[in-house]
Amino acid sequence: MIYGDKDLGVIVQNITGKQGTFHTELMNAYAREVGGRGVVAGTAPGKGGREVHGVPVYNTVKEALREHDATASVIFVPGGAAGDAIMEAAHAGIELAVVITEHIPVHDVMSAIAYAKLHDCTVIGPNCPGLLSPGECKLGIMPAHLARRGNVGVVSRSGTLTYEVVDELTRAGIGQSTVVGIGGDPVIGQTFVDVLARFEEDPQTKAVVVIGEVGGNLEEEGVRSTDLPVVTYIAGVSAPPEKRMGHAGAIIEGGEGDARSKVRRLRDQNIPVASRPSEIPGLIHEVI
């Protein structure tokens, strides 16, 4: 597993929001199931002193960390204020910020990630489902019941497509070490390269599924950077140029990053590329 285990203490920023409240309970249900620490505190400016599903709420991250031992934060703060929330977490000493929020202005993301770096805070996301290490911990919104502990890592730019792949793997009897959604925005914290470097250091992980999308060339950078056996799948081969398919990152700009040529370049490097998600388990069996 990478990024954290059962002992990871987690806070939730904007814990009183609809999503924050709902997923705090799901994260803690998972923590109870695996015997982990889970969400120990939450924040929401002006709402300090309340409780959400038994979790104490503080006005600021600094206050929460004064009372609780936590190193990770899951951020559900809405678009315009999310950049600020990332910086607040980093400033207060959070080491891992998982940003679920979508539609954050890209300039806010660039600044917040640069600021977090200055404070040695690792950012996953934004616009991501978070991470799940089956049997250890869950940070974010992934449906845990689809996953099962094992030795295949999964790293993906998508949300629900990741669940699809995890479901396929589990049905085929292939468990996962850690599933990481890095987010679909043009600018993200942890990239394929960063996550694959962590998987390479992880004794549990024997192979990795890389789920990419049309746009950019970060999948290729990632695959080139690792010695682990890798199976890839790229969504968006049927996407027409200059059309934005939901994710801001999923747009083909100036001929760069269209899925077809991405698939071709990966195959040229002898990397197995699945034509559809259901082919992934078979390809994994071939590489390990």
Binding site: I113, Y163, V214, G246
Partner: protein, 361 residues
């Protein structure tokens, strides 16, 4: 959202970037009133959002005597099948040299990247392809207020120093206006100083509200309707409608249709929390597209309530066949509700797409 040239130039001007004297006209006769300001040489530029506008005949040269006639000619044209409704009439600059400069969001480093070339007016991609060293690039920390002088020197190389303040102002535009791209091509030197002869500005769609932009013009009417419901929606030209949750899964569904040699009619991502109401609107919207005879609904996620989704599909009650694949909570209730009303719910996305193919054929 892409701004038109004259809108971008207005912004540049606010940030102290010199732009040519000019006026926007909506009819050929209007040009006469502006001629005294513009001088002898006049450039008429169609205000259309298409690439390669100049080559496509969207920029015409004129003088005092021919301006009205030339404007009439330009108004009668279509530039890459876009009709010309507005023309920017500008003074002709005494150009000495042309340069290229742009600032964009660099995905790899997650920071602003500035590109500069000693030749302007041409396509930067082509220039970089032919000679990589012709385009210089520097990455600037987004935490900095200005492009630091050492990076500016690296960027400019031997180019004139007086370009620096203009490029720094462009960086302020990029930061201040939430730009995805701010470009001047060409950036020109003249005997009277430096000018932005052309201007391109693309604003981050996620920042339109705080930039005071109420309507995203890049979207078609149906796309705007979709946006109201919080969907991301793209129209394609096939017959199989697609509704999914999450951009990746929805794209993957489109790819699967292509894999089985079918043609998707659209991309529709309903977003998180697909409830009855949203699903109903989504199904109705896709069914309203001409030529759609079957719709694949592919929803997956821990918090998707399948009974809600089923009710939404039933409430929409559309003519095209709806084939459903979903996984989440209350799956059994959802399946039963759908079965009672004659809808098919399948186990996998492969099976759902195959079933849709049969209907489409």
């Amino acid at each position: 959202m892409k701004l038109l040239e004259y809108e971008a130039k207005r912004v540049f001007s606010e940030y102290g970037i010199p732009v040519p004297k000019g006026a926007v006209i909506r009819a050929a006769e209007e040009v006469a009133a502006h001629l005294p300001d513009l001088g002898d040489g006049v450039v008429l530029k169609a205000q259309v959002d298409v690439g390669g506008r100049g080559k496509a005949g969207g920029v015409l040269m004129a003088d005092r005597t021919t301006a009205a006639e030339t404007a009439r000619d330009l108004f009668s044209r279509e530039i890459k099948s876009v009709p010309v409704r507005e023309i920017l009439a500008e003074e002709r600059l005494p150009i000495e040299h042309e340069y290229y400069v742009s600032i964009a969001v660099d995905r790899s480093s997650g920071q602003p990247v500035v590109l500069f070339a000693d030749a302007g007016g041409v396509e930067i991609e082509k220039m970089a392809e032919e000679d990589e060293s012709a385009v210089r690039r520097v990455v600037v920390s987004p935490l900095l207020r200005d492009i630091p002088p050492f990076l500016m020197r690296e960027l400019l190389g031997g180019a004139p120093k007086e370009l620096a303040p203009v490029i720094n102002s462009l960086y302020h535009v990029f930061q201040g206006k939430d730009a995805m791209l701010a470009e001047i091509n060409p950036l020109v030197t003249t005997s009277r100083g430096v000018y932005a002869a052309d201007a391109k500005l693309i604003i981050d769609d996620n920042a339109l509200a705080r930039q005071g932009i109420a309507v995203n013009r890049d979207l078609s009417e149906r796309e705007r309707e979709a946006e109201k419901h919080g969907f991301s929606y793209v129209e394609l030209d096939g017959s199989i409608g697609v509704i999914g949750n999450g951009a990746g899964l929805t794209m993957s569904t489109l790819d699967l249709i292509e894999f089985y040699h079918g043609r998707a009619a659209n991309f529709l991502d309903v977003g998180g929390g697909a409830d009855q109401e949203r699903v109903m609107h989504a199904v109705k919207l896709v069914a309203s597209m001409p030529g759609v005879n079957v719709i694949v609904v592919n929803l997956l996620g821990g918090i998707t309530r399948c009974d809600e989704v089923a009710k939404g599909i039933i409430a929409a009650g559309v003519a095209p066949t709806v084939i459903v694949r979903m996984a989440g909570t209350n799956e059994e209730e959802g399946r039963q509700l759908l079965a009672e009303c004659g809808y098919r719910m399948l186990e996998s996305m492969d099976a759902a797409v195959k079933a849709a193919m049969e209907v489409a054929e």
